[in-house]
């Protein structure tokens, strides 16, 4: 089966999108022998030039613009090159794909995504309920929209406190003044509301996994970040075996019948035997190739499930494997760039 699989987020930059890792994973499943179609939003996205991973690239209109234009672009790709499946990996495009997943399928483009209801579970005000339903906890938090609410929330939660944007950015404030300054910073960049969250003790540990939509796991691993960049992105990590954490992810899949990839960000407090759910990302994280590297190819299993191909059952993985991200560079002619600029494809 020669599938043509579209993958977004091929911006392998200092704040990397998840696309290249997902593409690598799918390429490594030789039985799929898939061709990867890079779905990019800028000619400069490095994935457009990584021919050994991305076979063909297209520039897409932004998903925030007219939805028909976006869908028509996908249909154009399907007609002219082939596009059997799309794996969207960016937060900003997920609502569009969720809304139109049935329409895309009718037009010959499969996806493997959660329902809109499931997608809403990732909202910060749902975390407490989700955590409770999967047997873990969540730090207390307050949504604030003004200076007054901020001060009241700090009084309630105590210091230090985490000051977070709804989608991006999180700072630890030790004083009210610091909290105000971070609040202003987030509002200036991302707008309202801002979330204040209790600081809990423990170590951050994350799970990448996927559910098949019927309560079963398509693979999962747990990791700890050992070294992060100034933007908070993993640069070195290690696989861990924490049964409580992995069981929480399994319960998440079972309880909610989650379909597709997701990441759970948790704080694990071993001293008090508690796990706090910090965030649910309804997509692959940028480090998802880590799971493939330790023998758990979640991305290819998603594709297999979507096309009713035999799904691989992953029961175990080794702890103590290191993930190393590194920078590299290469040189290409200007032709690819020219084609992307003038034709929107290469």
């Amino acid at each position: 089966m020669k599938l043509k699989i579209g993958i977004s987020g091929i911006n392998a930059v200092d704040n990397p999108g998840p696309g290249v890792g997902v593409a690598k994973s799918i390429k490594e499943d030789k039985e799929l022998s898939a061709k990867i179609v890079g779905l990019s939003y800028d000619a400069m996205e490095p994935g457009n030039y990584m021919k050994w991973i991305i076979d063909k690239s297209y520039i897409l209109p932004y998903p925030s613009a007219d939805h028909n234009t976006y869908l028509n672009r996908l249909y154009y790709i399907r007609e002219n090159y082939g596009l059997d499946f799309v794996m969207p990996v960016l937060d900003a495009e997920l609502p569009l794909y969720l809304k139109y997943q049935k329409e895309l399928e009718k037009n010959g483009i499969k996806t493997f995504l959660p329902t809109l209801e499931q997608f809403k579970l990732r909202e910060k005000d749902k975390l407490e309920e989700v955590a409770k339903n999967i047997g873990i906890e969540t730090p207390k938090s307050e949504v604030v929209n003004s200076y007054d609410e901020l001060v009241k929330a700090v009084e309630k939660l105590g210091l230090p406190v985490m000051v977070k944007g709804v989608f991006y950015k999180a700072y630890r404030a030790y004083t009210v003044q610091e909290a105000v300054s971070f609040f202003n910073k987030i509002v200036a960049e991302w707008g309202y509301p801002v979330i204040l969250q209790q600081v809990v003790s423990g170590e951050e540990m994350n799970v990448v996994a996927a559910g098949d939509g019927e309560g079963n796991s398509l693979g999962m691993i747990a990791i700890k970040k050992m070294w992060i960049t100034e933007l908070g992105k993993i640069w070195t990590g290690i696989t861990i075996k924490n049964d409580n954490l992995l069981n929480s992810a399994k319960r998440f899949i079972e309880v909610y019948g989650w379909k597709g990839a997701f990441e759970l960000e948790c704080i694990v407090d071993l001293n008090n035997n508690k796990i706090y759910l910090i965030e649910i990302n309804p997509r692959f994280p940028a480090w998802s190739y880590f799971s493939t590297g330790v023998g758990v190819n979640i991305a290819s299993n998603i594709v297999r499930k979507a096309f009713d191909l035999p799904v691989k059952e992953y029961r175990d993985y080794p702890a103590g494997k290191l993930y190393i991200r590194y920078t590299d560079d290469f040189v290409v002619g200007i032709e690819t760039f020219q084609k992307l600029i003038t034709l929107g494809e290469n």
Binding site: M205, M226, I238, I240, N242, V268, A319
Partner: protein, 78 residues
């Protein structure tokens, strides 16, 4: 929580805890003690083996052993 039994320990004294992702390094004496703890030996047995192996007085061996055990407790390894 007793994390001792799940630790991966190599001959050079590098210790990896698969539950937390933490790693530690210990010297030869530490490695000697931790391996015997994993074998389920009691403090008194380990103390005697330390005296025999390293040819030190009971006082020195006891002090080192207690120090090391306290350290392991502080990291919640035992």
């Amino acid at each position: 929580m007793n994390r001792l039994h799940q630790l991966a320990i190599n001959d050079e004294g590098f210790i990896f805890d698969p539950l937390t992702g933490e790693n530690f390094t210990v010297n030869r004496t530490g490695l000697f003690i931790i391996n015997r703890l994993k074998e389920g030996k009691k403090e008194e047995e380990i103390l005697q083996e330390l005296i025999d192996e390293f040819n030190v007085s009971r006082e020195v061996a006891e002090r080192d052993l207690i120090d090391f055990l306290e350290k392991l407790k502080s990291y919640r390894i035992i």
